[in-house]
């Protein structure tokens, strides 16, 4: 029973990790790639950790697994935000199919237009 649950969790988790890597390879720009790659660290690693906790089954490894899971759930979003902000401010080109660029719109620029000018105006 526990082996079957572990097997299901590991198959689902490794499938999520592989899909995240495929998405990282196929997505068109940095921001969509980042959105895909954070799925690996939440869903993929979460499923793999549940399987590992079921398989190991003692209290010490459960605490370690829970701490890895909580830490990654906290830091993945922070890291993704930091990279997204840095790459936007570094003028990484958006995908040409981007429909909404709120910051560029607030600065009266087109989505793919030049964002290199007065980037200091509304930067918190």
């Amino acid at each position: 029973m526990i082996d079957a649950l572990t097997a299901i969790m590991w198959i689902v988790g490794s499938a999520f990790a592989l899909l995240a890597a495929v998405g990282l390879l196929r997505m068109p720009d940095v921001f969509t790639r980042m959105q895909v790659s954070t799925k690996a660290s939440t869903l993929g690693l979460g499923c793999l950790l549940i399987g590992a906790a079921l398989q190991l089954g003692d209290f010490g490894s459960f605490v370690r697994v829970a701490s890895i899971s909580a830490f990654l759930l906290l830091t993945t979003s922070v890291a993704a935000h930091v990279i997204a902000r840095a790459s936007y401010l570094a003028d990484v080109p958006l995908w040409e199919g981007t429909v909404l660029d709120e910051r560029g719109r607030d600065l009266h620029r087109s989505p793919e237009g030049d964002r290199s000018g007065d980037a200091t105006t509304n930067d918190a």
Binding site: D3, A4, T6, A7, W10, I11, G13, S14, A15, A17, L18, A20, A21, V22, L24, L25, V30, R33, M34, S37, A40, S41, G44, L45, L48, L49, G51, A52, Q55, L56, D58, G60, S61, R64, V65, S67, I68, F71, L72, T75, T76, V78, A79, V82, I83, R85, A86, S87, L89, A90, D91, V92, A119, T120, D123
Partner: protein, 88 residues
């Protein structure tokens, strides 16, 4: 059965690592490579967790914790590096 599933999961994680390495090599910009390195760190943690559970080596989970910590700090440091090249 679990041995087969373990090997299957390890193969899929290995292929995912290879695809992430391809993105690191191809770029095309520095933030792309940073995102790919972040994903590589997460995939290494995944590999260590699966190996620790399948071989019952519980000490490897501590290594996974350390790699997760270092991966976060490295990502934030890379992002700071990107920002430093483009001051506001």
């Amino acid at each position: 059965m679990l041995e087969m599933v373990t090997q299957f999961a390890l193969v899929m994680l290995g292929v995912a690592l290879l695809l992430a390495v391809v993105r690191v090599v191809r770029g095309p910009t520095l933030p792309d490579r940073i995102v790919a390195m972040d994903l590589i760190g997460v995939l290494v943690v995944c590999l260590i967790v699966v190996l620790a559970a399948s071989t019952k080596v519980r000490a490897a989970l501590d290594a996974a914790i350390v790699i997760a910590l270092i991966g976060f700090v490295a990502t934030v440091a890379y992002a700071t590096y990107v920002r430093r090249g483009h001051p506001e």
